[in-house]
Amino acid sequence: MSSPPRTLAPYLFLLPGIALFGVFFAWPAVLAVETAFTDYSIVNPTHWIGMANFAALWHDAEFRGAILHSFVVMVGLLPFSVVIPIALAILVNNALRGIQFFRALYFLPVVTSMVAVAVAWNYVFDDRGVLNWLLERLHVTAGPVHFLLDQHWALASVIVVEGWKGAGTYMMIFLAGLQSIPDDLHEAAQLDGAGGWQRFTAITLPLLRPYVAVAVTIEIVNAMQVFTSVYVLTQGGPGGHTETAGYYIWSKAFQHFQLGYASAAGIVVWVILVVLAIVNYRVTSRGGAQPW
């Protein structure tokens, strides 16, 4: 290959993007690292305090709790990002009349704001809401379950809302995957006498694998930053039981104004995120190229 032609054109095109990257990604990243080693707090003068923030984080039970909750969210959201969306994609992967309407309906929560979604779900979760009515009718529970106020239920409730809201995104990813599988593969298997379930495990699942990799990567990044749902549904309560990493960082920075400390927490969370993304990439991309 010859060396690239010397021309300014590509760089001129890239200029706005590079400038925005510099101002809103690179510069903040440098600032984040810098601030993490200080006691910056807006109100008091700032001092360089070395590793003190990180040392304090290590002993901060609240921070460890927040990380733990984020992991719970990450695991809890997996079914909503892989299993359920694959089922949904299979359900809508046909040419039935009106199928487009159902795809759109399942995708609707994705395009609505989390604030609106939270208001709507309050009617589901209320003591006298639909869910409690259903549970009592089916004799699962005797009295009302306080979904958002009970420490055993609150985080699960947040996960359900997040999972419900995001499922449509993943459904579309898997629908793209299903539609990339040539029809004759299924037809050939059918001629060979393979049943529906056999074809699903032998053809569909292996070919969906790169899409699973994409879905899980997106899920990890999203789960680590769950914030708005917590903010509008529980404010981290009851008793910090729904405080996620994202919410913890926000509240330390903008409620307690400990920006240095919160920056350090952000860096720890980011490192965890990158490690998880790499591990996930290693595990899921074996034997198959990523579709991106």
């Binding site: 690239p4 032609p5 021309t7 054109a9 590509p10 760089y11 095109f13 890239l14 706005p16 990257f21 809103f24 510069w27 990243a29 600032l31 984040a32 359900l91 039935l96 159902f102 759109a104 309906l105 399942y106 995708f107 609707l108 929560p109 395009v111 609505t112 704001s113 989390m114 604030v115 609106a116 208001v119 709507a120 009617y123 589901v124 209320d126 006298r128 809401g129 639909v130 009515w133 009718r137 449509g168 579309m172 990813i173 629908l175 793209a176 994409v214 680590m224 930053q225 914030f227 903010y231 960082i249 926000w250 903008f254 920006l259 919160a262 920056s263 980011w270 995120l273 579709p291 991106w292």
Partner: protein, 275 residues
């Protein structure tokens, strides 16, 4: 045989509708509550979805309780300012990545990719510090600019530009077309469908964005509608019906937009994976 197939199809529809209800029910209750008269309980066992009779009082209340028109206008301004910028910057960044050979191309590719792995929530504090330093806190530009560069938009359009036949660009070059004119007059029109998809997603992002405006805005005069609704829900004593009504109003633009353009939105959601 025909009967079996027909029964299966009906079974499919029953399943589709049942699943549809799971996705629709919170919204159904939201709309029902917004229309229920004061004489009807918001909650009842069994739950009721039918307002008897439907009233518009709460929609009017929500409209006046908080400066709703102001918030809607703000959201519109954020969309009108942010979305064209988002589309243009995405296209300008994607174009050389898709069509040109130059030194640093791989680096640029990873730069764009890296933005996907820096979650907004973690960039919140340092970005706030930067925006503070350049004096953009509590400004419209401060709300819009950080979201303009996104891996999603760049990869979506890179894919589109890569699919444009080479003959087209060659023909334009032979006609003495400069790089910018080639981009602006030939390439952009060809990838218009993808530009539309980028614009639609830009609209949805901007309309629903919550955490960044929450952090960067100090005056509620510049609140977008999502913050307005959160503010309404935080006012103690706000009636559940008024809150529902306000939420319904905030949803109307984005839902209408989605219903009209759903085909493109769903294509975009699919296409984004295949970058």
């Amino acid at each position: 045989m025909v009967n079996v197939r027909r029964r299966r199809r009906i079974g499919r529809y029953v399943l589709l509708i049942a699943v549809g209800l799971i996705f629709a029910w919170p919204f159904l209750f939201l709309v029902a509550t917004a229309l229920k008269p004061a004489t009807q309980d918001v909650f009842s066992f069994p739950p009721s979805l039918v307002p008897r009779p439907p009233v518009l009082t709460w929609l009017r209340d929500a409209w006046t309780e908080i400066p709703f028109p102001r918030y809607l206008l703000n959201s519109l301004l954020y969309v009108l300012g942010g979305v064209p910028l988002f589309v243009l910057v995405s296209a300008m960044t994607a174009y050389p990545l898709a069509r040109m050979r130059f030194r640093g191309r791989t680096v640029m590719f990873f730069v764009v990719l890296s933005t996907m792995f820096v979650p907004t929530e973690l960039m919140l504090i340092p970005r706030f510090l930067v925006v503070n330093q350049i004096g953009l806190t509590n400004s419209y530009a401060g709300v819009v600019l950080p979201g303009v560069l996104s891996a999603f938009g760049v990869f979506l359009l890179r894919q589109a530009f890569a699919g444009v036949p080479h003959e087209l660009a060659e023909a334009a070059r032979l006609d003495g077309c400069g790089e910018w004119r080639l981009f602006w007059n030939v390439m952009l029109p060809v990838v218009r469908p993808s530009l539309a998809i980028a614009a639609i997603f830009g609209f949805i992002f901007v309309w629903n964005d919550f955490i960044w405006p929450l952090v960067v805005l100090s005056s509620d005069a510049k609140f977008p509608i999502a913050l307005g609704v959160a503010y309404l829900s935080g006012i103690s004593g706000t009636d559940a019906r008024t809150l529902s009504a306000g939420t319904v109003i905030s949803l109307i633009p984005v839902v209408v937009f989605f219903v009209v353009l759903q085909r493109h939105v769903l294509e975009g959601a699919k296409g984004a994976v295949k970058g």
